[in-house]
């Protein structure tokens, strides 16, 4: 009894030491793997003497994890918004740019001034036409970029929803695996699961609860079940090209639903509030449409300035002049063009710039004609219709500058909000890494202890063997 007990105790000690060395070696091997969480061996006394490896624990802090996921979602959402705002801001440009809207506008005003000084010059007339065309082209490009930005956001939402659905169904498969007795606790099921959770948590703010039996239950922060016994699917249909004026309300665009519950951001009571999806929805349905409204307003302002008899005597009251809007409604920025009456390529005449859009014959070449009216129209203070946060009465270039300043401020706000959220997310990530990460020094120190323990147990075996040998010698 005593000999064999001593041997079996020593054996259990050596087994525990080899398990510990396996765990430590796995830790050290994964020291630079960012998704890996440290494993620790938990020992307890055996049922009938000796030592037993109770479990291999994965380091982690569930509360910190929840905070980290929430911060990551917030940061992903705000960063998506800030990127969009930044992109729009870049397209819009700033006063003093050599290209873009401001440069085109300046060139147009300069060319009008030049033409006013020498109204008889054909080349100045041509230059004015080119400047006007350049201006409308620049605005058209802005209008197209707006459509593209919304289309991109819509496509991005579709791709993210698909990724989330894939992750949810992967988690459904992974669910329950840990209850089946992960033999050595070193399998990567936990890591795989965390990787999928991270994908979902980027997209939207979630709560991850332990439903027992090694299963996870995932709800959105607003309480909509995403993963119970089975994975739910987030429903979304990508709308293709998103034209100006199309909204969820107009039936052109899709929101998000789960099990028939509307979770579209800014939608019903259980709408998602944070995360990459919320960010892209804000881009698609708020930030870009608002920007679109601004440039539509600006385009409308440009058209309106040159409309009517006050500017050009040949025009009927309310008739569009140098610039025409080609229809009404949203998306004027994409449609605005120069009146074909002044474009020789489209059957027009350059001298109509001087003599009026509807002039039938060219007037005296030194006549100032309507050029003075055009100049005055560009400088005339006008009130803008819809956009509220722009100062009320401004000239064309002032209006544009005011727009730029609003867009710039918006960009500043978005960038600083995103930066703050990113740094919060990063600091939580660092904090988590401090808990779950592998400290190689610590691992090596515990390896020393394990080595000693193994040697001591081996010595016990040696002693028992010597005692037996001594006995057999008698």
């Amino acid at each position: 009894m005593t000999f064999s007990n001593a041997l079996s105790n020593a054996l259990s000690g050596m087994n525990a030491a080899t398990t510990a060395v396996q765990v430590r070696s796995n830790n050290i091997a994964n020291a630079s793997n960012p998704g890996y969480a440290r494993r620790d061996v938990v020992l307890s006394t055996g049922v009938v003497g000796g030592v037993r490896v109770t479990s291999i624990e994965r380091a982690g802090d569930p509360i910190l994890l929840k905070d980290r996921l929430s911060a990551a979602a917030r940061s992903a959402g705000l960063n998506a918004q800030s990127e969009a705002v930044e992109q729009l801001n870049q397209l819009f440009g700033e006063p003093g740019d050599t290209q873009g809207l401001f440069a085109s506008l300046t060139r147009f005003e300069t060319s009008l001034d030049d033409l006013a000084a020498t109204p008889e010059s054909g080349s100045y007339q041509a230059a004015t036409l080119r400047a006007a065309q350049d201006l409308t082209n620049t605005i058209n490009r802005l209008g197209d970029a707006v459509t593209e930005a919304r289309t991109d956001a819509d496509r991005e939402i579709g791709a993210t929803v698909a990724a989330v659905n894939r992750a949810l169904s992967a988690l459904e498969d992974l669910n329950g695996i840990s209850s089946r007795g992960d033999a050595n606790g070193l399998g990567d099921a936990a890591e795989q699961r965390q990787a999928q959770i991270d994908i979902i948590a980027q997209a939207l703010d979630i709560n991850v609860d332990d439903a027992g039996r090694g299963r996870l239950r995932i709800t959105t922060a607003e309480g909509v079940l995403l993963l119970g016994e089975t994975a739910r699917t987030i429903e979304f249909s990508s709308g293709g090209i998103v034209a100006p004026g199309q909204t969820i309300g107009s039936g052109h665009l899709s929101g998000l639903t789960v099990d028939g519950v509307d979770i579209t951001p800014k939608g019903g009571a259980q709408a998602i509030r944070s995360g990459y999806l919320a960010g892209q929805f804000a881009v698609r349905d708020e930030i870009v449409p608002e920007f679109s409204d601004r440039i539509d307003d600006l385009s409308q302002d440009i058209v309106d300035r040159f409309t009517g008899t006050g500017v050009d005597g040949t025009l009927a009251p309310g008739e569009e002049g140098l610039f025409i809007s080609n229809g009404t409604g949203d998306g004027i920025a994409a449609r605005i063009s120069v009146n074909s009456a002044v474009n020789p390529d489209e059957g027009g005449e350059l001298w109509r710039l001087r003599d009026g859009i509807n002039a039938t014959i060219a007037g005296p070449s030194a006549n100032l004609g309507v050029i003075g009216g055009l100049l005055a129209a560009a400088d005339a203070p006008r009130a803008l219709s819809s956009v509220t946060d722009t100062p009320a009465v401004l000239s064309l270039s002032e209006t544009t500058a005011a727009f730029a300043s609003v867009v710039g401020t918006q960009r500043q706000d978005a960038v600083s909000a995103a930066a703050a959220a990113t740094s919060t997310a990063q600091s939580l990530r660092d904090e988590e890494l401090a808990i779950t990460g592998v400290n190689t020094d610590q691992e090596l120190q515990s390896l020393l202890l394990i080595e000693q323990a193994y040697a001591a147990n081996a010595r016990v075996v040696q002693v028992v063997s010597d005692m037996m040998a001594r006995l057999l010698e008698i």
């Binding site: 007990n5 079996s8 007795g181 119970g228 099990d259 057999l472």
Partner: protein, 436 residues
């Protein structure tokens, strides 16, 4: 005549030591047999009628006993169905013939440990041919009223027939917080939906949808704390309305946020003492625990977001068998790939009044004998019975050190007895030599 009694005693000494040598050799041979209990040879002296002027050597007698009550150390193994008993008692097993026999005819054997594995028919069997017996459990894991004085309720443990298993849900408990601000006059009255999953009779996952609709206060009035809870069973086709509950919450000190009053309509019933909603879904009757009056668990209404923090249910979805495991109370559980565990059998631990009286059979098994007394089947870990331990086997109780020292003693004793015979022989020779 005393000299012949000495010769006789010497021969008896040889015999008994030979018997002890046999026990030692058997013990040493089985020193690494799992579950082996060592045998011991006990000597006792025989006394012939004594007179003061003469002494007759009575000699020695041997009794061999097997020390079944000695416990070997449990060593850990890699198989979940290697079962050892930590403490007193033995597991009921039967032989190959007993598997096909009825309970009354089946030979009942007892063994302290066994390395069981599934055979081709699904029975748990040791390599030596012992079949594990246990009480079959119902879907709730109960074995019911079983006979503990006989093996009539025991059955050979068979895992094969339970490859797939499912259990319908009968009890659900939910925990959810409803945002109190939604019942203020500023509330929109928008409903919150919460799916509650349950398992039907075929192991499929079905859903009851609970919809919580706040009743906002009219302008200028304090919040109503009133919610309407609608339950719809999506598992039935078409979806069935299970009824409606009007829940009013407390906002008084100490009990804020707990249920104050519930009125039901449309077929739902609610017990304010237990907090259970009784209803019937597609698979049968189900109770849903939403918390009793004044109970902080279950449904609450606090100034926070809508948060379904807990849904628990009994039952199990359909799953493939991943393996079996035994717990300390002898419950043999099937582990399914869905993460569920279900008790299939309960393995009792048999105790007899005199363990050492059990008569040994092959493969470290024992049968009940006259000397051992009748057995009683305990739940493992209760009363005097030891706990069942999976992933472990009981080592042989043989200790080589003890056996070796006994061997030396036996050798010395045997040699001494031989010396007595030789001496008697020489003395008789002397006597014979007198007449020459």
């Amino acid at each position: 005549m005393s000299i012949s009694s000495s010769l006789n005693a010497g021969v008896m000494g040889l015999n008994v030591n030979a018997a002890r040598l046999a026990t030692i050799s058997n013990n040493v041979a089985n020193s690494s047999t799992f579950g082996y209990k060592r045998a011991e040879a006990n000597f006792s002296s025989l006394v012939l009628q004594q007179r003061r002027n003469a002494y007759a050597a009575g000699g020695v007698r041997v009794d061999t006993t097997r020390l079944v009550d000695e416990r070997g150390a449990l060593i850990s193994t890699g198989s979940a169905t290697d079962i050892g008993i930590a403490g007193q008692g033995m597991m009921p097993v039967t032989d190959i013939g007993g598997v096909s026999q009825g309970a009354t005819d089946r030979p009942l054997l007892l063994t302290p440990t066994g390395s069981f594995s599934q055979n081709e028919d699904g029975f748990l069997q040791t390599p030596g041919g012992l079949f594990l017996l246990g009480w079959p459990a119902d879907t709730d894991g109960d074995v019911g009223g079983v006979s503990r004085r006989s093996g009539t309720d025991l059955e050979p443990v068979n895992i094969g027939v339970n490859q797939f298993s499912a259990t319908a849900t009968s009890e659900i408990a939910i925990g959810v917080n409803l945002p109190s601000s939604d019942t203020e006059s500023t509330g929109t009255g928008a409903p919150y939906s919460m799916p509650i999953e349950y398992y039907d009779n075929l192991g499929a996952i079905q859903t009851i949808t609970a919809t919580f609709t706040p009743t906002p206060a009219t302008a200028g009035n304090p919040r109503t704390n009133q919610w309407t809870m609608d339950l719809v069973d999506e598992g039935s086709i078409p979806a069935t309305n299970l009824g409606q509950l009007q829940i009013t919450f407390n906002d008084a000190a100490g009990i804020g946020g707990t249920i104050a009053n519930v009125t039901t309509s449309g077929g739902a019933t609610y017990d304010s003492a237990t907090g259970l909603i009784s209803t019937t879904v597609s698979s049968g009757p189900v109770t849903i625990d939403i918390g009793a009056y004044g109970d902080a668990a279950g449904i609450s209404q606090l100034e926070s977001g809508f948060a379904p923090f807990n849904v628990t249910r009994n039952g199990a979805p359909i799953g493939d068998l991943e393996g079996v495991e035994i717990d300390a109370e002898g419950r043999l559980e099937a582990v399914y790939d869905t993460g569920f565990r279900r008790v299939l059998y309960q393995i009792p631990v048999a105790m007899v009044p005199n363990l050492n009286g059990l008569s040994p059979a092959d493969n470290q098994a024992y049968t009940v004998s006259q000397e051992s007394g009748d057995f009683y089947l305990w739940d493992a870990g209760s009363g005097p019975a030891g706990a069942t331990v999976g992933f472990s086997l009981m080592e042989s109780t043989t200790d080589i050190g003890t056996e070796m020292t006994d061997l030396i003693k036996t050798q010395r004793a045997y040699a001494s007895s031989a010396k007595i015979i030789q001496t008697v022989d020489e003395m008789l020779q002397e006597t014979t030599n007198i007449i020459r």
